[in-house]
Protein backbone atom coordinates (compact mmCIF):
# COMPACT_ATOMS: atom_id res chain seq x y z
CA UNK A 1 0.00 0.00 0.00
CA UNK A 2 2.81 2.39 0.90
CA UNK A 3 4.35 1.48 -2.45
CA UNK A 4 1.35 2.79 -4.37
CA UNK A 5 1.08 5.98 -2.32
CA UNK A 6 4.80 6.61 -2.86
CA UNK A 7 4.47 6.04 -6.59
CA UNK A 8 1.56 8.47 -6.82
CA UNK A 9 3.51 11.19 -5.00
CA UNK A 10 6.52 10.62 -7.26
CA UNK A 11 4.18 11.00 -10.22
CA UNK A 12 2.87 14.29 -8.82
CA UNK A 13 6.44 15.51 -8.40
CA UNK A 14 7.20 14.67 -12.02
CA UNK A 15 4.05 16.51 -13.10
CA UNK A 16 5.29 19.60 -11.24
CA UNK A 17 8.62 19.35 -13.05
CA UNK A 18 6.80 19.01 -16.38
CA UNK A 19 4.94 22.24 -15.62
CA UNK A 20 8.30 23.80 -14.85
CA UNK A 21 9.67 22.84 -18.26
CA UNK A 22 6.48 24.08 -19.91
CA UNK A 23 6.81 27.37 -18.05
CA UNK A 24 10.45 27.68 -19.04
CA UNK A 25 9.54 27.69 -22.70
CA UNK A 26 6.36 29.77 -22.49
CA UNK A 27 7.63 32.72 -20.44
CA UNK A 28 9.28 35.41 -22.51
CA UNK A 29 10.86 37.50 -19.73
CA UNK A 30 13.98 36.27 -17.94
CA UNK A 31 12.66 36.92 -14.42
CA UNK A 32 9.58 34.82 -15.14
CA UNK A 33 11.81 31.98 -16.25
CA UNK A 34 13.69 32.37 -13.02
CA UNK A 35 10.42 31.54 -11.24
CA UNK A 36 10.73 28.03 -12.64
CA UNK A 37 13.99 27.49 -10.79
CA UNK A 38 12.94 29.20 -7.58
CA UNK A 39 9.48 27.73 -7.01
CA UNK A 40 8.38 25.03 -9.40
CA UNK A 41 11.55 22.97 -9.41
CA UNK A 42 11.99 23.18 -5.66
CA UNK A 43 8.42 21.96 -5.08
CA UNK A 44 8.75 19.27 -7.75
CA UNK A 45 12.02 17.94 -6.32
CA UNK A 46 10.69 17.97 -2.76
CA UNK A 47 7.49 16.08 -3.62
CA UNK A 48 9.69 13.61 -5.50
CA UNK A 49 11.84 13.12 -2.39
CA UNK A 50 8.77 12.78 -0.16
CA UNK A 51 7.53 10.06 -2.50
CA UNK A 52 10.89 8.27 -2.22
CA UNK A 53 10.77 8.56 1.57
CA UNK A 54 7.28 7.05 1.64
CA UNK A 55 8.34 4.23 -0.64
CA UNK A 56 11.25 3.36 1.66
CA UNK A 57 9.29 3.68 4.89
CA UNK A 58 11.11 4.28 8.17
CA UNK A 59 14.77 3.41 7.47
CA UNK A 60 18.27 4.86 7.35
CA UNK A 61 17.85 5.46 3.62
CA UNK A 62 14.84 7.73 4.06
CA UNK A 63 16.65 9.61 6.84
CA UNK A 64 19.40 10.48 4.35
CA UNK A 65 16.85 11.51 1.74
CA UNK A 66 15.20 13.72 4.38
CA UNK A 67 18.58 15.34 5.13
CA UNK A 68 19.09 16.00 1.42
CA UNK A 69 15.58 17.45 1.20
CA UNK A 70 16.26 19.89 4.07
CA UNK A 71 19.57 21.01 2.56
CA UNK A 72 17.95 21.32 -0.86
CA UNK A 73 15.16 23.40 0.63
CA UNK A 74 17.78 25.84 1.97
CA UNK A 75 20.05 25.92 -1.06
CA UNK A 76 17.77 26.03 -4.06
CA UNK A 77 15.84 29.22 -3.30
CA UNK A 78 19.14 30.82 -2.32
CA UNK A 79 20.63 29.94 -5.70
CA UNK A 80 17.62 31.48 -7.38
CA UNK A 81 18.01 34.57 -5.20
CA UNK A 82 21.68 34.96 -6.10
CA UNK A 83 20.99 34.60 -9.81
CA UNK A 84 18.06 37.01 -9.60
CA UNK A 85 20.05 39.63 -7.69
CA UNK A 86 23.11 39.50 -9.92
CA UNK A 87 20.98 39.43 -13.08
CA UNK A 88 18.99 42.42 -11.85
CA UNK A 89 22.14 44.36 -11.01
CA UNK A 90 23.79 43.68 -14.34
CA UNK A 91 20.71 44.01 -16.61
CA UNK A 92 19.58 47.23 -14.93
CA UNK A 93 23.15 48.42 -14.97
CA UNK A 94 23.34 49.47 -11.35
CA UNK A 95 26.96 50.40 -10.66
CA UNK A 96 28.90 49.55 -7.54
CA UNK A 97 28.13 52.64 -5.53
CA UNK A 98 24.38 52.63 -6.03
CA UNK A 99 24.29 49.02 -4.90
CA UNK A 100 23.32 49.23 -1.23
CA UNK A 101 22.95 45.47 -0.79
CA UNK A 102 19.19 45.56 -1.05
CA UNK A 103 19.27 45.89 -4.82
CA UNK A 104 16.61 48.60 -4.62
CA UNK A 105 16.90 51.58 -6.94
Amino acid sequence: MMEIVGNIIIGIGLVFMAFGVLGLYKFKDFYLRLLVLAKIDTVGAITFMVGIIIRHGFSFFSLKVFLIMVLFLILNPLTAHIIARTAYLSIEGITQDQDDGRGGR
Binding site: L71, I74, L75, L78, H81
Partner: protein, 311 residues
Protein backbone atom coordinates in the same frame (compact mmCIF):
# COMPACT_ATOMS: atom_id res chain seq x y z
CA UNK B 1 19.49 4.87 -21.34
CA UNK B 2 23.20 5.52 -20.97
CA UNK B 3 23.44 6.31 -24.68
CA UNK B 4 21.06 9.28 -24.36
CA UNK B 5 23.13 10.61 -21.47
CA UNK B 6 26.31 10.22 -23.53
CA UNK B 7 24.69 12.13 -26.42
CA UNK B 8 24.03 15.01 -23.97
CA UNK B 9 27.61 14.67 -22.83
CA UNK B 10 29.02 15.09 -26.33
CA UNK B 11 26.68 17.96 -27.26
CA UNK B 12 27.63 19.93 -24.14
CA UNK B 13 31.31 19.28 -24.93
CA UNK B 14 30.89 20.55 -28.49
CA UNK B 15 29.10 23.56 -27.07
CA UNK B 16 32.00 24.29 -24.74
CA UNK B 17 34.56 23.93 -27.52
CA UNK B 18 32.91 26.14 -30.09
CA UNK B 19 31.59 28.80 -27.73
CA UNK B 20 32.28 32.25 -29.15
CA UNK B 21 32.07 34.52 -26.15
CA UNK B 22 34.45 33.82 -23.31
CA UNK B 23 31.83 34.06 -20.57
CA UNK B 24 29.78 31.26 -22.08
CA UNK B 25 32.72 28.86 -21.94
CA UNK B 26 32.58 28.76 -18.15
CA UNK B 27 28.84 28.02 -18.05
CA UNK B 28 29.12 25.37 -20.76
CA UNK B 29 32.09 23.74 -19.00
CA UNK B 30 30.11 23.66 -15.74
CA UNK B 31 27.23 21.93 -17.57
CA UNK B 32 29.68 19.56 -19.25
CA UNK B 33 31.31 18.49 -15.98
CA UNK B 34 27.85 18.06 -14.41
CA UNK B 35 26.72 15.69 -17.14
CA UNK B 36 30.08 13.88 -17.12
CA UNK B 37 29.71 13.39 -13.36
CA UNK B 38 26.30 11.81 -13.95
CA UNK B 39 27.81 9.59 -16.66
CA UNK B 40 30.51 8.40 -14.24
CA UNK B 41 27.74 7.72 -11.75
CA UNK B 42 25.88 5.60 -14.27
CA UNK B 43 29.07 3.67 -15.03
CA UNK B 44 29.05 2.43 -11.44
CA UNK B 45 31.83 4.73 -10.23
CA UNK B 46 30.47 7.06 -7.51
CA UNK B 47 33.97 7.81 -6.18
CA UNK B 48 35.10 9.12 -9.55
CA UNK B 49 31.85 11.07 -9.91
CA UNK B 50 32.40 12.68 -6.51
CA UNK B 51 35.97 13.61 -7.44
CA UNK B 52 34.73 15.02 -10.76
CA UNK B 53 32.06 17.18 -9.12
CA UNK B 54 34.41 18.52 -6.46
CA UNK B 55 37.10 19.20 -9.03
CA UNK B 56 34.77 20.90 -11.49
CA UNK B 57 33.89 23.58 -8.93
CA UNK B 58 37.60 24.17 -8.33
CA UNK B 59 38.46 24.37 -12.02
CA UNK B 60 35.52 26.78 -12.48
CA UNK B 61 36.95 29.03 -9.76
CA UNK B 62 40.46 28.89 -11.24
CA UNK B 63 39.09 29.65 -14.69
CA UNK B 64 37.12 32.62 -13.36
CA UNK B 65 40.20 34.21 -11.82
CA UNK B 66 42.23 33.44 -14.94
CA UNK B 67 39.62 35.00 -17.23
CA UNK B 68 39.35 38.09 -15.05
CA UNK B 69 43.10 38.49 -15.31
CA UNK B 70 42.93 37.87 -19.07
CA UNK B 71 40.21 40.48 -19.49
CA UNK B 72 42.00 43.16 -17.51
CA UNK B 73 45.40 42.41 -19.08
CA UNK B 74 44.44 41.75 -22.68
CA UNK B 75 40.95 42.59 -23.95
CA UNK B 76 40.53 45.89 -22.10
CA UNK B 77 44.04 47.02 -22.91
CA UNK B 78 45.35 45.92 -26.27
CA UNK B 79 43.34 46.86 -29.39
CA UNK B 80 44.22 43.77 -31.43
CA UNK B 81 42.50 41.34 -29.05
CA UNK B 82 39.48 39.94 -30.96
CA UNK B 83 36.05 40.32 -29.38
CA UNK B 84 35.00 36.75 -29.99
CA UNK B 85 37.10 33.64 -30.45
CA UNK B 86 35.20 32.22 -33.40
CA UNK B 87 37.53 30.24 -35.64
CA UNK B 88 36.77 31.51 -39.14
CA UNK B 89 35.79 28.17 -40.67
CA UNK B 90 37.03 28.75 -44.19
CA UNK B 91 37.28 25.52 -46.10
CA UNK B 92 40.97 25.89 -46.87
CA UNK B 93 41.80 26.41 -43.23
CA UNK B 94 39.54 23.72 -41.87
CA UNK B 95 40.47 20.85 -44.18
CA UNK B 96 43.93 19.92 -42.83
CA UNK B 97 42.84 19.66 -39.14
CA UNK B 98 39.75 17.64 -40.04
CA UNK B 99 41.74 15.28 -42.26
CA UNK B 100 44.47 14.92 -39.64
CA UNK B 101 41.96 14.13 -36.86
CA UNK B 102 40.11 11.62 -39.00
CA UNK B 103 43.32 9.84 -39.96
CA UNK B 104 44.34 9.68 -36.30
CA UNK B 105 40.89 8.36 -35.30
CA UNK B 106 40.99 5.76 -38.07
CA UNK B 107 44.44 4.57 -37.01
CA UNK B 108 43.34 4.41 -33.41
CA UNK B 109 40.20 2.41 -34.15
CA UNK B 110 42.06 0.11 -36.54
CA UNK B 111 44.70 -0.81 -34.03
CA UNK B 112 42.33 -1.59 -31.13
CA UNK B 113 43.17 -5.19 -30.09
CA UNK B 114 40.60 -7.92 -30.57
CA UNK B 115 38.71 -9.71 -27.84
CA UNK B 116 36.72 -8.55 -24.87
CA UNK B 117 38.15 -7.05 -21.69
CA UNK B 118 39.32 -10.00 -19.61
CA UNK B 119 38.12 -9.72 -16.04
CA UNK B 120 40.85 -11.82 -14.37
CA UNK B 121 42.30 -8.89 -12.41
CA UNK B 122 38.86 -7.57 -11.53
CA UNK B 123 37.71 -10.87 -10.06
CA UNK B 124 41.00 -11.21 -8.19
CA UNK B 125 40.61 -7.80 -6.61
CA UNK B 126 36.92 -8.22 -5.83
CA UNK B 127 37.46 -11.50 -4.01
CA UNK B 128 40.67 -10.64 -2.18
CA UNK B 129 40.26 -7.00 -1.20
CA UNK B 130 38.43 -7.67 2.06
CA UNK B 131 40.96 -10.15 3.39
CA UNK B 132 44.15 -8.47 2.17
CA UNK B 133 43.40 -4.81 2.75
CA UNK B 134 40.21 -4.69 4.82
CA UNK B 135 37.39 -2.17 4.41
CA UNK B 136 34.24 -2.36 2.33
CA UNK B 137 35.15 0.05 -0.48
CA UNK B 138 37.06 -1.86 -3.17
CA UNK B 139 38.28 1.33 -4.85
CA UNK B 140 39.79 2.74 -1.65
CA UNK B 141 41.36 -0.55 -0.74
CA UNK B 142 42.99 -0.68 -4.20
CA UNK B 143 44.58 2.75 -4.20
CA UNK B 144 45.59 2.41 -0.57
CA UNK B 145 46.51 -1.25 -0.43
CA UNK B 146 47.20 -3.07 -3.67
CA UNK B 147 48.49 -0.12 -5.72
CA UNK B 148 49.85 2.22 -3.09
CA UNK B 149 52.79 3.03 -5.38
CA UNK B 150 50.52 5.01 -7.71
CA UNK B 151 49.13 6.97 -4.77
CA UNK B 152 52.63 7.88 -3.62
CA UNK B 153 53.67 9.22 -6.98
CA UNK B 154 50.31 10.94 -7.45
CA UNK B 155 50.81 12.77 -4.14
CA UNK B 156 54.31 13.74 -5.30
CA UNK B 157 52.85 14.97 -8.59
CA UNK B 158 50.31 17.11 -6.75
CA UNK B 159 53.06 18.55 -4.56
CA UNK B 160 55.16 19.45 -7.62
CA UNK B 161 52.24 21.13 -9.37
CA UNK B 162 51.39 23.13 -6.23
CA UNK B 163 55.00 24.29 -5.95
CA UNK B 164 54.92 25.13 -9.67
CA UNK B 165 51.78 27.25 -9.33
CA UNK B 166 53.12 28.97 -6.24
CA UNK B 167 56.32 29.99 -7.99
CA UNK B 168 54.93 30.82 -11.40
CA UNK B 169 52.17 33.13 -10.28
CA UNK B 170 53.09 36.76 -9.98
CA UNK B 171 54.91 37.78 -6.82
CA UNK B 172 53.17 40.95 -5.69
CA UNK B 173 55.07 42.31 -2.73
CA UNK B 174 52.35 43.27 -0.32
CA UNK B 175 50.31 40.56 1.28
CA UNK B 176 46.52 40.76 1.34
CA UNK B 177 45.46 44.12 2.74
CA UNK B 178 42.65 44.50 5.20
CA UNK B 179 39.81 45.76 2.99
CA UNK B 180 36.89 43.61 1.97
CA UNK B 181 38.96 41.51 -0.36
CA UNK B 182 36.34 39.23 -1.69
CA UNK B 183 34.07 42.20 -2.39
CA UNK B 184 31.62 39.60 -3.49
CA UNK B 185 28.76 40.04 -1.12
CA UNK B 186 27.76 42.66 1.37
CA UNK B 187 28.13 41.29 4.88
CA UNK B 188 24.47 41.63 5.82
CA UNK B 189 22.93 40.21 2.67
CA UNK B 190 21.06 36.94 2.83
CA UNK B 191 23.49 34.85 0.82
CA UNK B 192 26.41 35.61 3.13
CA UNK B 193 24.20 34.66 6.05
CA UNK B 194 23.32 31.32 4.47
CA UNK B 195 26.89 30.58 3.44
CA UNK B 196 27.79 30.98 7.10
CA UNK B 197 25.30 28.17 7.80
CA UNK B 198 26.41 25.97 4.93
CA UNK B 199 30.16 26.18 5.53
CA UNK B 200 30.35 24.09 8.72
CA UNK B 201 28.07 21.52 7.08
CA UNK B 202 30.53 21.29 4.21
CA UNK B 203 33.48 20.86 6.55
CA UNK B 204 31.73 18.14 8.57
CA UNK B 205 30.65 16.39 5.37
CA UNK B 206 34.23 16.52 4.13
CA UNK B 207 35.42 14.94 7.38
CA UNK B 208 32.72 12.29 7.04
CA UNK B 209 33.89 11.48 3.53
CA UNK B 210 37.47 11.13 4.72
CA UNK B 211 36.84 9.08 7.82
CA UNK B 212 34.17 6.94 6.18
CA UNK B 213 36.06 6.54 2.95
CA UNK B 214 37.11 2.94 3.38
CA UNK B 215 33.57 1.75 4.06
CA UNK B 216 31.15 3.74 1.93
CA UNK B 217 31.70 5.90 -1.12
CA UNK B 218 34.32 8.62 -0.63
CA UNK B 219 37.95 8.57 0.41
CA UNK B 220 41.01 10.67 0.92
CA UNK B 221 40.83 12.61 -2.32
CA UNK B 222 37.15 13.57 -2.37
CA UNK B 223 37.13 14.39 1.35
CA UNK B 224 40.24 16.52 0.94
CA UNK B 225 38.63 18.55 -1.81
CA UNK B 226 35.41 18.95 0.21
CA UNK B 227 37.46 20.27 3.11
CA UNK B 228 39.35 22.62 0.79
CA UNK B 229 36.03 23.95 -0.55
CA UNK B 230 35.22 25.04 3.00
CA UNK B 231 38.06 27.56 2.69
CA UNK B 232 36.55 28.87 -0.55
CA UNK B 233 33.31 29.61 1.25
CA UNK B 234 35.27 31.13 4.09
CA UNK B 235 36.84 33.50 1.56
CA UNK B 236 33.34 34.55 0.51
CA UNK B 237 32.21 35.33 4.04
CA UNK B 238 35.10 36.96 5.83
CA UNK B 239 36.71 40.04 4.48
CA UNK B 240 40.20 38.77 4.43
CA UNK B 241 41.77 35.43 5.20
CA UNK B 242 45.49 35.92 5.61
CA UNK B 243 46.86 32.48 4.89
CA UNK B 244 50.50 31.95 5.74
CA UNK B 245 51.64 30.14 2.62
CA UNK B 246 55.07 29.25 3.93
CA UNK B 247 53.61 27.35 6.83
CA UNK B 248 51.02 25.52 4.75
CA UNK B 249 53.54 24.72 2.03
CA UNK B 250 56.02 23.22 4.47
CA UNK B 251 53.17 21.43 6.23
CA UNK B 252 52.12 19.90 2.92
CA UNK B 253 55.65 18.68 2.29
CA UNK B 254 55.63 17.11 5.75
CA UNK B 255 52.29 15.42 4.98
CA UNK B 256 53.77 13.98 1.81
CA UNK B 257 56.73 12.65 3.79
CA UNK B 258 54.29 11.16 6.32
CA UNK B 259 52.33 9.44 3.53
CA UNK B 260 55.50 7.97 2.04
CA UNK B 261 56.67 6.84 5.48
CA UNK B 262 53.35 5.30 6.45
CA UNK B 263 52.94 3.48 3.15
CA UNK B 264 56.46 2.11 3.19
CA UNK B 265 56.23 1.20 6.88
CA UNK B 266 53.02 -0.72 6.51
CA UNK B 267 53.04 -2.20 3.07
CA UNK B 268 56.66 -2.63 2.06
CA UNK B 269 58.04 -3.64 5.43
CA UNK B 270 55.21 -6.14 5.83
CA UNK B 271 53.61 -4.82 8.99
CA UNK B 272 50.41 -5.58 7.19
CA UNK B 273 50.97 -9.28 7.42
CA UNK B 274 52.27 -9.40 10.99
CA UNK B 275 49.61 -7.20 12.66
CA UNK B 276 46.36 -7.78 10.74
CA UNK B 277 44.29 -5.90 13.32
CA UNK B 278 45.88 -2.52 12.45
CA UNK B 279 44.55 -2.60 8.91
CA UNK B 280 41.56 -0.31 9.33
CA UNK B 281 43.72 2.05 11.40
CA UNK B 282 46.14 2.15 8.45
CA UNK B 283 43.33 2.81 5.99
CA UNK B 284 41.81 5.62 8.02
CA UNK B 285 45.13 7.31 8.79
CA UNK B 286 46.22 7.02 5.15
CA UNK B 287 42.94 8.55 4.04
CA UNK B 288 43.33 11.39 6.52
CA UNK B 289 46.89 12.12 5.41
CA UNK B 290 45.89 12.14 1.76
CA UNK B 291 42.92 14.37 2.56
CA UNK B 292 45.20 16.82 4.40
CA UNK B 293 47.65 16.82 1.51
CA UNK B 294 45.01 17.37 -1.18
CA UNK B 295 43.17 20.06 0.79
CA UNK B 296 46.38 21.96 1.62
CA UNK B 297 47.46 21.76 -2.01
CA UNK B 298 44.18 23.14 -3.28
CA UNK B 299 44.04 25.79 -0.58
CA UNK B 300 47.47 27.04 -1.61
CA UNK B 301 46.54 27.04 -5.29
CA UNK B 302 43.24 28.77 -4.58
CA UNK B 303 44.65 31.48 -2.35
CA UNK B 304 47.65 31.88 -4.58
CA UNK B 305 45.23 32.59 -7.38
CA UNK B 306 42.74 34.72 -5.50
CA UNK B 307 45.17 36.69 -3.36
CA UNK B 308 47.91 37.46 -5.85
CA UNK B 309 46.24 37.19 -9.20
CA UNK B 310 43.20 39.26 -8.59
CA UNK B 311 45.13 42.48 -8.19
Amino acid sequence: MIYVLLIFWITSAILAIQARKLIRIIVYLAIFSTISAVCFFMFGAPDVAMAEVAVSSFSTVFMIVCFEKYFTLVTDVSPDAPKDLKFRYKLSKILPPVVFTLILAGLFIYFIPEGTVNTYLKDLYLERFRFDVGGENAVTSIYLGFRVYDTLFEALMLLISVVGVAHMSCRSEHEISGENFSGVTKSDSVDVYTIRIICPAMLIFGMYLVLNGHVSAGGGFQGGIAIASFFICRYLIYNVYDVRYGKIMSFEKMTFAAIALLASLFIFLGFYVQFPQIRTAYLISMNMLIAMKVSFGFIIIFYRYIAFERR
